[in-house]
Amino acid sequence: MPKLIKNQDIIDDNYQLLETAPAADQPLPEGNLLVPLADWLENQQRYANHQGSVGVWLDSHEEPELLASQVQSLPVIAINFPQFTDGRGYSTGRLLRERFGFLGELRAIGDVLRDQLFYMARCGFNAFAIRADRCIDDALNGLKDFSETYQAAVDQPQPLFRRRMQAE
């Protein structure tokens, strides 16, 4: 089974990612599924009847606003990083956490590499499907690059300037 970094641990990934919408006339695959956003929005009843858990994945250009009122019904939301240099997913992550109050698993998928994990974690991601050709143990170290940060973000809602004041 593929591995996943979740909450700073390496665990088994027990979700199957459906890259495209499954055919309407075929049964859904068994088990936990991560399905494309548009498909999930259109076929909610179908997924509600599914035996396993169902999460949704968004591509980098897809707007989290489309999920706004429904995030609490989802156990997992995954954001695709088609290339690690495509930074739209960072904004998507923050919006899902900070604006729409998503509390479940926020997973980075796609071109997910060690050197981006620290930023992703700050933007609310707590799960990382590391690119298959990379060492997941090594990637885990990427979460520890810095012990201090300036800005407010999901992991630290108080910017350093407010914490400095409290420390004085």
Partner: protein, 552 residues
């Protein structure tokens, strides 16, 4: 100036460790070229024409004498004994070894310096007026706000992988010396009718292949909202900026595509959600950072020095230098001195390790141990007593800093061009040198007066040719280098973009073309007019006619 506390130091130290590890993994083959590229760029490390180039941040242009000495030491130890001051208030090393960059960063960290975000598709070093804090025409000192922006932008987790590079400039004086109108975001510090401090927010300016003057999206942003508003602008850009074409990825293209109205509506809508959150600045924080830029221990001096008046009367060379390289200071008895880094025959902005150390000594002796870098690639000692000007000038002569050409034709802004830069289509440094050599008569230069001549070796416009009164752009035609000449650009608060004169010129013709442009100016000007004023009055036609007339 701003002094790091344990938090700032920790972040910079941890960055050194992080980059050391990234470099190790790259050299060990664990990171592909394409993966290392954005990581090294976010640390100002380019692979250039001949060697790597490392760009070190001089946040908002301020450096202590200790920092200057460290830059000199690094130049000696890891490079070829000189550094280049760029148009972004940064310093560039042209010959470091990739393997040694982590060690250079470790050395920089010991004097509270770094290379964070001096390149790459992230928020770059924030720039400001080199006379910040001492200019008489200033509303408030912009440097604390620049430092607040520096901290906010450092490793901003949401904006480390933007569609393109992102540059912010802050100006607080009546005269814009920061070229804020040609930045992704330009911030003008202003006071409203109630006397409260805030920002006029300008977005979407920029040079490069689509040069544009920025437009105002907010007339008054109260100071406490600075960072949340920047977050809103950057978030809109990050989400909706184009990523399919790097030449169309700057925020100016998004602003143009949406229109200023719709763009600002999007920003305002985003900001509504976040405006009163934890990122709202506190007065304590503004005060804390401001306290680092407190007024140095100025002496109570008469507004004008009798001694200086006598020296100016006695020594015409000193007088020349004083007229050109010394500016008025807001404190009585003090002056602002600009060291020219543009003597003829030296690449504009280049200084040797020895010169840097000399500048550090002079800063210690005459200017509270601090210096500034200007975006025109000169070095400024901002707090010099009028009675010290004469000995400072004599020392400046010894070290090659006293060329009395600030703001004149030979004070050329020039990118490193094809001599160093892998992007360049043409060389720019030899053009600057040819022009400097041709126009080395000081009386003539003074007669011509204020004139910005800017040279870029390619469309990326690092030499800001679009906003030079005269701008020169190196172009490549079938493997040969040619030079396109523009006139009418200006970088100040009345910013304008230059117009192309006509067909480009061979390298050896460029000084003649400049001479012809100057002939038109001299014959047409009214007594008070600068080159740019005459151009604005008479238009491009007379210049065009004169330049192309005899070519046929």
């Amino acid at each position: 100036m701003y002094i790091y506390d344990q938090y700032d130091q920790t972040i910079v130290d941890e960055r050194v460790t992080q980059f050391r590890e990234q470099t190790r993994r790259y050299l060990a083959g664990e990171l592909a070229d394409t993966e290392f590229l954005p990581l090294r760029l976010q640390n100002g490390l380019y692979i250039q024409r001949f060697a790597p180039m490392l760009r070190v941040a001089i946040p908002y242009g301020m450096a202590s004498s200790k920092q200057l000495r460290k830059l000199a030491e690094i130049a000696r130890k890891y490079d070829k004994g000189y550094v280049h001051f760029s148009t972004r208030q940064n310093v560039q090393y042209n010959w470091p070894q990739l393997e040694q960059v982590p060690d250079i960063l470790a050395e920089l960290a010991t004097v509270q310096m770094h290379a964070i975000q001096t390149s790459g598709n992230c928020i770059r070093n924030t720039t400001t007026d080199q006379f910040a804090g001492v200019a008489a025409d200033e509303i408030v000192d912009p440097r604390p706000y620049c430092e607040i922006i520096r901290q906010w932008s450092t490793f901003h987790p949401e904006f480390a992988f933007l569609p393109r590079k992102f540059k912010i400039a802050v100006n607080a004086a009546k005269q814009d010396r920061a070229a804020a109108l040609v930045h992704d975001i330009g911030l003008y510090l202003v006071k409203n009718e109630a006397g409260e401090i805030g920002f006029k927010v300008i977005v979407g300016g920029g040079l490069g292949r689509t040069p544009l003057i920025g437009t105002v999206i907010r007339e008054f942003l109260p100071e406490q909202h600075l960072l949340s508003y920047l977050d809103a602008v950057l978030r809109v850009y990050n989400r909706y900026g184009r990523r399919d074409n790097k030449y169309k990825a700057r925020i100016k293209i998004l602003v143009k595509a949406l229109g200023t109205e719709l763009f600002s509506q999007k920003v305002e809508a985003e900001w509504e959600h976040i405006k009163d959150g934890a990122t709202t600045l506190t007065q304590q924080e503004i005060n804390r950072v401001t306290s680092h830029f407190s007024v140095p221990a100025y002496e109570a001096l008469p507004a004008t020095s009798q001694q200086l008046a006598q020296q100016l009367a006695d020594d015409p060379n000193f007088n020349h230098w004083y007229q050109q390289n010394v500016n008025a200071h807001k404190v009585p008895g003090y002056s602002i001195v600009t060291f020219s880094l543009k003597p003829t025959g030296v690449a504009p902005g280049d200084v040797t390790d020895k010169q840097l150390e000399a500048a550090a000594d002079l800063a210690d002796q005459y200017s509270f141990g601090e210096a500034r870098v200007s975006h025109q690639q000169n070095l400024v000692l901002a707090d010099v007593k009028q009675n010290d000007l004469y000995p400072l000038w004599q020392a400046a002569i010894q070290h090659g800093f006293a060329t009395p050409n600030i703001g004149l034709l030979t004070d050329i802004i020039c990118c490193p061009g094809g001599d160093f830069c892998a992007l360049a289509n043409a060389k720019s440094i030899p053009i600057a040198e040819a022009i400097q050599s041709r126009f080395d008569d000081l009386d003539y230069l003074h007669d011509i007066g204020e004139l910005d001549l800017n040279i870029s070796g390619c469309m990326n416009a690092c030499g800001h040719h679009h906003v030079g009164h005269i701008g020169i752009l190196g172009v490549d035609k079938k493997g040969e280098e040619f030079y396109q000449v523009q006139v009418g650009g200006n970088a100040g608060s009345d910013a304008s973009l230059g117009k192309i004169l006509g067909p480009s010129f061979a390298k050896e013709d460029v000084p003649n073309v400049i001479a012809k442009l100057l002939t038109v100016y001299v014959s047409q000007r009214t007594p008070e007019e600068r080159f740019i004023d005459t151009y604005r009055r008479i238009g491009i036609k007379p210049f065009k006619e004169q330049v192309y007339a005899k070519a046929h």
